[in-house]
C-alpha cells in the first residue's frame, strides 16, 4: 500500500532520516519503535508532507513525495500528530467537522461510526476541545482523524500522557479501527502495548531501520527486550 525507498529528511541542515526503506501492507497494523530522537515522528511527518523529504514514496502505486500535506490527505493518508493538536477553541463537533473537511458529504455517516467507537465524545458534542482531559483529547484527535475516512491512519504516540487505563482503551479502539478495514501505522513509546497489537514492526535507530519482523518476533528479540522492555 505504502512503499518507501531510500527516504531522507531533516530540519534545515540536520539530517534525521537516513535512507529509510519500509513498506506498509493493506489491512495491517505496523509499529515503528525506537528511542527518543530516533526519527519516528519525522518519518510520519515526511509521509504526511509536513516535513520535506527526498527519496521515493509511493502510495497505492502513485508517487506522493512532492505533494503538499492537504493533497496527501486527499489520497487517503491521515496523520494524527503527537501531542493531539486538537483545535482548542472549536467544539467537539466542530473539531470533527474539520476532520471531515475534504468529504463533508460523508459527515453524517462518519460521525455515527466515530461516536460508536468513542461514546464519551457523543455525550458532549458542544464542549470546547481545549477544556477536555488529556485522554478525551486523544480520543478526539483519533476520532477527528477517522472523520477523514483514511485508508492509512498514522498515529503518533497515542498513549503519551495517558493513564494506563485510558491507554488501554485507546489501544482497544485502535484494534477495532483496524478490524473495520483501516490500515494503521503506529509510532508508540509503549513498545510492549504497540508490538502486541501489531502484525509487523520496524525498529529505528538514529534515523535508520535496524530491525524488522512480526510483532511477536520483535517482542521476543533479545535486543528489543534489552533496549525497550527492560528485560
Amino acid at each position: 500500500m505504502l512503499e518507501i525507498r531510500n527516504l531522507n529528511a531533516g530540519y534545515g541542515e540536520m539530517p534525521v532520516l537516513k535512507s529509510v526503506s519500509l513498506s506498509v501492507s493493506k489491512g495491517e497494523i505496523l509499529s515503528i519503535v525506537g528511542s527518543n530522537g530516533a526519527g519516528k515522528s519525522t518519518l510520519l511527518k515526511s509521509i504526511s508532507g509536513v516535513v520535506r523529504a527526498s527519496g521515493s514514496m509511493d502510495f497505492l502505486g502513485a508517487p506522493i513525495v512532492d505533494l503538499k500535506p492537504h493533497e496527501i490527505v486527499r489520497r487517503g493518508i491521515v496523520h494524527v500528530p503527537e501531542g493531539r493538536k486538537i483545535f482548542p477553541e472549536l467544539t467537539v463537533s466542530e473539531n470533527l467537522r474539520m476532520g471531515a473537511f475534504l468529504n463533508p458529504q460523508h459527515y453524517r455517516s462518519r460521525i455515527e461510526m466515530v461516536f460508536d467507537l468513542f461514546p464519551r465524545l457523543a455525550e458532549r458534542p458542544n464542549q470546547l476541545g481545549g477544556t477536555m482531559s488529556g485522554g478525551e483529547q486523544q480520543m478526539l484527535a483519533i476520532a477527528r482523524g477517522l472523520m477523514g475516512d483514511p485508508k492509512l491512519l498514522m498515529l503518533d504516540e497515542p498513549s503519551l500522557g495517558l493513564s494506563p487505563l485510558y491507554a488501554e482503551t485507546v489501544f482497544r479502539s485502535i484494534g477495532e479501527i483496524n478490524r473495520n478495514g483501516v490500515t494503521v501505522l503506529l509510532v508508540e513509546q509503549n513498545v510492549f502495548l504497540s508490538l502486541s497489537i501489531s502484525n509487523r514492526g520496524y525498529v529505528i535507530e538514529t534515523g535508520s531501520v535496524v530491525l524488522t519482523g512480526s510483532g511477536q518476533e520483535l517482542l521476543e528479540n533479545p535486543q528489543v527486550k534489552k533496549a525497550f522492555l527492560g528485560m
Binding site: 508532507g49 509536513v50 492537504h70 483545535f87 482548542p88 477553541e89 472549536l90 482523524g145
Partner: protein, 289 residues
C-alpha cells in the same frame, strides 16, 4: 451631558477602530504575522472613496460595494506574491516586508496624490441630529457605525458557520493540525489577508468624510489597531471588536475630561497596563505568547 456626549461619540469612533483592528487580528491569528502595512491599506480605502466620489460622484457608502471586492483581490494578490514567502520565517523578515510594503504604498500615494490633504465633503458630511439632552450625533459617523455593525455581523457569521470560515479558525488555532485535516493553509492565509485588507479599506472609506485624507493618514490607525489587538487578545476577532469600542470611548472620555492632547497618552498608558497586567488581553487564549 458631557459624559453621554463623549460616550456616544466614543462608541461611534470606536466602531471604526474595531473594524480596522478586526482585520489586523484575523491576519495575525491565521498567519501569525503583524501587518505593519495595515494603516496604509486603510489609506488606500480613503483615497478610493475620495476619487470614486469626486470623479464619478458615487456616494462613499455606496462605493463600499466596489471598494470591498477590489481590496480583497488586492490583499489576496499581495499575499500570494509576497507575504506567503515569510510565513513561518523570523519575525524580522516579516516586519521588514510589511513595513516595506507600507512605505511603498504611502510614497506611491504621495507621488500620485501629493501631500495636500483632501477633504471628502458630501451633502450630509456635517449634518447631525440631537438626542434629548442636547447630545449631538453626526450623521456620517452614525451611518459608518451601522455599516460597521453589519460588516461585523457578516464576518462573525462567516467565521462561525461556513466551511471556509471554520477552516480559517482552525488554521488560526493550530496551523499544523489544520494541514493534516486537508486544509490548504496557504490558501487560508491568502483569504485571511484578503479579508484583512477588505476590512482595513472599508474602515478607511467609512472615515473618509470625517478625517483629512493624506498619504500617511493611516499611520495613527496602525498604532491604534495594534493597541486594540493587544487589548482584545492577539488573534481574537471578537476581542478586537470589543477592544475597538473600549479604546474609542477611553479616547473620547480623556479628550473630554483631560484634554484632547492627552488622549493618546491615556490610550498608550492603557496599552502598557494591559501588557503588564493581562498580557493575553481580554479575549486572548491561555498560554499564548
Amino acid at each position: 451631558m458631557l459624559f453621554f456626549q463623549s460616550l456616544i461619540s466614543g462608541i461611534l469612533t470606536g466602531g471604526i477602530y474595531a473594524l480596522a483592528a478586526m482585520g489586523m487580528s484575523l491576519v495575525f491569528g491565521v498567519m501569525n504575522i503583524s501587518n505593519f502595512a495595515h494603516g496604509d491599506l486603510m489609506m488606500l480605502g480613503m483615497y478610493m472613496a475620495y476619487y470614486l466620489f469626486t470623479l464619478l460622484n458615487i456616494d462613499p457608502f455606496l462605493s463600499l460595494v466596489l471598494i470591498m471586492p477590489a481590496a480583497f483581490v488586492f490583499g489576496y494578490a499581495i499575499e500570494k506574491t509576497m507575504i506567503n514567502r515569510v510565513i513561518g520565517h523570523p519575525s524580522e523578515n516579516q516586519i521588514l516586508l510589511t513595513v516595506g510594503l507600507g512605505l511603498i504604498m504611502g510614497n506611491t500615494a504621495l507621488l500620485a496624490f501629493t501631500s495636500d490633504p483632501k477633504i471628502l465633503t458630501t451633502s450630509y458630511s456635517s449634518s447631525s441630529f440631537n438626542l434629548p439632552g442636547d447630545i449631538s450625533v453626526s450623521i456620517p459617523m452614525l451611518l459608518s457605525f451601522l455599516v460597521t455593525c453589519l460588516l461585523t455581523a457578516v464576518l462573525y457569521l462567516f467565521l462561525s458557520t461556513t466551511r471556509t470560515g471554520m477552516a480559517l479558525r482552525a488554521t488560526s488555532q493550530n496551523r499544523e493540525a489544520a494541514q493534516l485535516m486537508g486544509i490548504d493553509v496557504s490558501r487560508m492565509s491568502a483569504i485571511a489577508f484578503g479579508i484583512g485588507t477588505l476590512l482595513a479599506a472599508s474602515a478607511g472609506a467609512l472615515i473618509a468624510q470625517t478625517y483629512y485624507i493624506d498619504p500617511f493618514a493611516g499611520h495613527t490607525f496602525l498604532l491604534k489597531s495594534f493597541t486594540i489587538c493587544v487589548l482584545g487578545g492577539l488573534g481574537s476577532v471578537i476581542g478586537a471588536g470589543v477592544g475597538g469600542i473600549v479604546i474609542g470611548v477611553v479616547e473620547a472620555m480623556s479628550a473630554a475630561y483631560l484634554s484632547s492632547e492627552w488622549k493618546d497618552v491615556v490610550v498608550f498608558v492603557l496599552f502598557l497596563a494591559i501588557l503588564l497586567l493581562r498580557p493575553r488581553g481580554l479575549f486572548g487564549r491561555k498560554g499564548e505568547q
